[in-house]
């Protein structure tokens, strides 16, 4: 990194007076929690053959919300059999137009019960209610609606090919967007005529199980969707099950590689949506106030628990100081705390384990000589919390500039020329996303062409749409989700020998 002269970062001047916010908590009355949740297999909620249950907690309070069944090998086997039977007898040969109607139904029911889902998502995962309400739920419903429309139009999507479903899809999803990831996995799988066995993350199983209830009420043929809860071992049993034809995984690069090895030589189709270390690049001509909002959204959205988070901020040198000042100012106004409060910007860290990982990496940043800034804010006593954090004086070799932190921690580096920005942005084994902030349209396209990333946002960040394909380059995985391109991983084609 070029050595540049700069003043020691100082705490921003406090503006007087500091206004206190009134609390604006969302009521949890709308959620009817059960004490115990079974597995969703063959259209019914059933007790696990394993006989085991685990607790899911609210990470903002550490209170137990419910007990959830832990699917053992026998349970996974039953779920896969149910999916196989449903695929062959009730789903594969159903006309696309009819398959579509079930998906439209699910989309509509998600819209109808959006508030309930949003509150439950926030309770189980810790994300701010304004995000689960305004992002997760609308996008999940939209995803089902979008893919519903594809179910009877698949022949138009792939010129000169005849699409066929693969069979049973085993799908393992993470805890950062629990319902939305379930939608990303199930909607294209079902639209293309596959049956699914979905394994939600162990810290956030509740909205997927509520989705199971919706699926039941939608009268989707039994067994087309099966939901098996549990931890890594359950996921492993799903992906390695010999009767699963296709595996879709979203999660860490480390686990993605393990799955890749486990599937070697099996002939199963695989898509991986893995980690990231995205560069968010701000040029000096960018509208700085807008860029500050984008940078904040890029890294603090969902507590930074986002695989495509803009965790490396690259700032063109002349803009460094003004941008840093504005960022520190903005951080001071971010509200950290009760995720159910409608004013909360940063909610709870999803789990104690994740909090420890963030703390460990942040400590390495300090130890390796980067300079840390955190705003003053009072954190709740119970629950898992981490202040929004900035690091300056970061070099590319620091762990905080190389490793995915998956928390509200931003590493700031600088550059002089567009070519240097490209080189630094691409200097990572990841390649999921990137951001560019500039007033110049031609520069956006010049940068976008050179970035080794599956998604490039210009003058925006962390924006998603069911029509827009999403997925990584390099070690961020392969395959796309969303859009027309999100159909391909769930289809076989005449003439394909596999």
């Amino acid at each position: 990194m070029a050595k540049i002269e700069r003043q020691e970062p100082q705490a921003p001047e406090r503006r007087e007076p500091v206004w206190e916010y009134a609390t604006a908590p969302e009521s949890t009355d709308i959620v009817r929690l059960e004490d115990r949740y079974g597995l969703f297999v063959g259209g019914e909620f059933v007790e696990p053959k394993s006989g085991r249950y685990f607790e899911t907690i609210n990470p903002a309070t550490e209170e137990t919300l419910a007990e959830v069944a832990e699917a053992g090998p026998e349970d996974v086997d039953l779920a896969v059999s149910a999916a196989r039977e449903a695929h062959e007898r009730r789903w594969r040969d159903l006309p696309g137009t009819e398959r579509a109607k079930y998906l439209f139904r699910i989309a509509r029911m998600l819209q109808e019960r959006a508030r309930e889902f949003a509150v439950l998502e926030t309770m189980d995962g810790g994300k701010p209610i304004k995000e689960s309400r305004d992002v997760d739920l609308p996008l999940a419903a939209a995803h089902f609606f979008y893919y519903a429309g594809w179910a009877d139009k698949l022949e138009y999507a792939f010129p000169h090919r005849r699409p066929r479903p693969l069979g049973v899809a085993g799908q393992v999803i993470p805890w950062n967007f629990p319902l939305l990831m379930a939608a990303w996995k199930l909607a294209p799988a079902l639209a293309t005529g596959n049956a699914a066995v979905l394994k939600p993350a162990e810290t956030t199983p509740l909205t997927a199980l509520l989705l199971g209830q919706v699926i039941q009420e939608a009268e989707l043929p039994p067994g087309v969707v099966n939901i098996v809860t549990g931890a890594g071992e359950t996921g492993s049993n799903v992906v390695t099950h010999p009767d699963v034809n296709k595996v879709a995984f979203t999660g860490s690069t480390e686990v993605g590689k393990i799955i890749r090895r486990a599937l070697a030589g099996t002939g199963k189709r695989l898509t991986l949506e893995l980690g990231g270390k995205a560069a968010n690049i701000v040029f000096e001509d960018a509208p700085l106030d807008q860029a500050v909002e984008g940078v904040v959204n890029g890294i603090f959205f969902n507590q930074g628990h986002v695989c495509c988070a803009g965790s490396r901020l690259l700032v063109q040198e002349p803009a460094f100081e003004p941008l840093l000042d504005k960022l520190k100012d903005r951080l001071q106004t971010l509200r950290v705390g009760n995720p159910l409060d409608k004013n909360t910007d940063i909610g709870a860290i999803n789990s104690r384990q994740q909090l420890q990982k963030i703390e460990e990496l942040v400590a390495s940043g300090v130890e390796e000589g980067a300079e840390m800034y955190q705003p003053e804010c009072v954190l709740p006593e119970r629950g898992f919390w981490f202040r929004p954090t900035l690091f300056t004086n970061v070099s590319q070799s620091h762990r905080i500039a190389r490793e995915e932190i998956f928390g509200p921690v931003l590493s700031i580096l600088t550059f002089r020329t567009p070519a240097e920005a490209v080189e630094k942005a691409n200097n990572t084994p990841y390649g999921l996303s990137a951001g560019v902030w500039t007033d110049k349209g031609s520069r956006i396209l010049w940068m976008a062409e050179r970035m080794k990333a599956g998604v490039v946002w210009a003058n925006t960040f962390n924006r998603f749409d069911p029509t827009s394909p999403f997925g990584g380059y390099k070690e961020s995985g392969f395959g796309r989700e969303g859009g027309l391109h999100g159909l391909e991983p769930y289809l076989d084609f005449d003439g394909d020998s596999e």
Binding site: R261, A264, A448, T460, S468, F478, G495
Partner: protein, 285 residues
């Protein structure tokens, strides 16, 4: 009258536009169908493979930066030059035991012409613009994945190789090819064609040698983005796919087992070695 002594060719490797022998000094006998020794081919080592990967990586940005029209013309020229040397290719296929060597050469030349024409069309046919809910122009374009390792099928030493190589480099990827171990001479001749047909040095690198020795190094190499395992022996597939996990390589193989079948050429073979990139471009007055 003394009979003229013909000049024999040394079958060498093709790395970075040059024709070195193996740094290991090794070579191996190539037999014809009739059991006669046709030549001694270079037996590439791990080090040769790494040199080839380095050359391919260095050549990749320049090759991808050429206009699609330009790449199309260059690949068309490969077909032109093959046509001029068809007698040699036919003789090599006959030596390797091909049933109909003329057919094999015709199909290989036509395959270059077919793929050359895709250079400036694949983005139009398989890219997309996406109607997102917001003030953005959102589009998805396929881009070359980077540097591709190709294990050519052992049979059909010419058409099998061209059917895997052409779709890989059409889009701007560069390649390291492991030629058919048993019948590498058509691949050596193809390298000589590529060297004289405006394909920049390093875009295609051809190694001859022992497949089982070289494949694991190719599959495990951290700077190889994708591997085409069409020619990987069945008993090595699991090992190769496992090694590919190290840097999350894309693994692909021919959709059609027979390169003469109609399915053997497809734009989807091109996109199998491409990445779809989606760009959100702001709109506003």
């Amino acid at each position: 009258m003394t009979e003229r002594v013909p000049v024999r060719r040394t079958a060498k490797l093709f790395i970075g536009g040059e024709f070195p022998r193996s740094e290991s000094g090794r070579s191996y006998e190539i037999f014809g169908e009739d059991g006669r020794v046709l030549a001694w081919a270079a037996r590439a080592s791990r080090k040769d493979l790494r040199e080839a990967v380095r050359a391919a990586r260095a050549a990749q940005p320049g090759w991808a930066a050429k206009t699609a029209y330009n790449r199309g013309q260059i690949l068309y020229r490969v077909a032109e030059l093959m046509e001029g040397r068809r007698a040699q290719f036919e003789a090599e296929l006959a030596d390797a035991g091909a049933a109909d060597q003329a057919w094999g050469v015709n199909a290989a030349i036509d395959r270059w012409v077919w793929y050359a024409g895709w250079c400036d069309k694949v983005h139009q046919v398989l890219g997309a613009t996406n109607p997102v809910a917001g003030p953005y122009f959102n589009f998805t374009i396929p881009e070359p994945t980077g540097m591709v390792g190709i294990v050519a099928p052992p049979d059909q030493p010419l058409l099998g190789l061209v059917s895997r190589l052409a779709p890989a480099i059409v889009s701007g990827n560069t390649a390291v090819v492991l030629a058919s171990e048993r019948a590498p001479l058509p691949a050596v001749s193809l390298a000589e064609v590529l060297a004289t047909s405006d394909v920049p040095g390093g875009v295609v690198n051809v190694l001859t040698g022992f497949t089982k020795e070289l494949v694991p190094w190719l599959a495990g190499h951290m700077d190889v983005n994708a591997i085409d395992v069409t020619g990987v022996p069945e008993d090595m597939r699991a090992e190769v796919e496992s090694l590919s996990a190290e840097n999350v390589k894309r693994v692909t193989r021919a959709k059609a087992a027979d390169p003469f079948s109609p399915e053997a050429q497809s734009p989807y073979e091109i996109t199998a070695l491409m990445e779809f990139k989606t760009v959100w471009h702001p709109m506003g007055a």
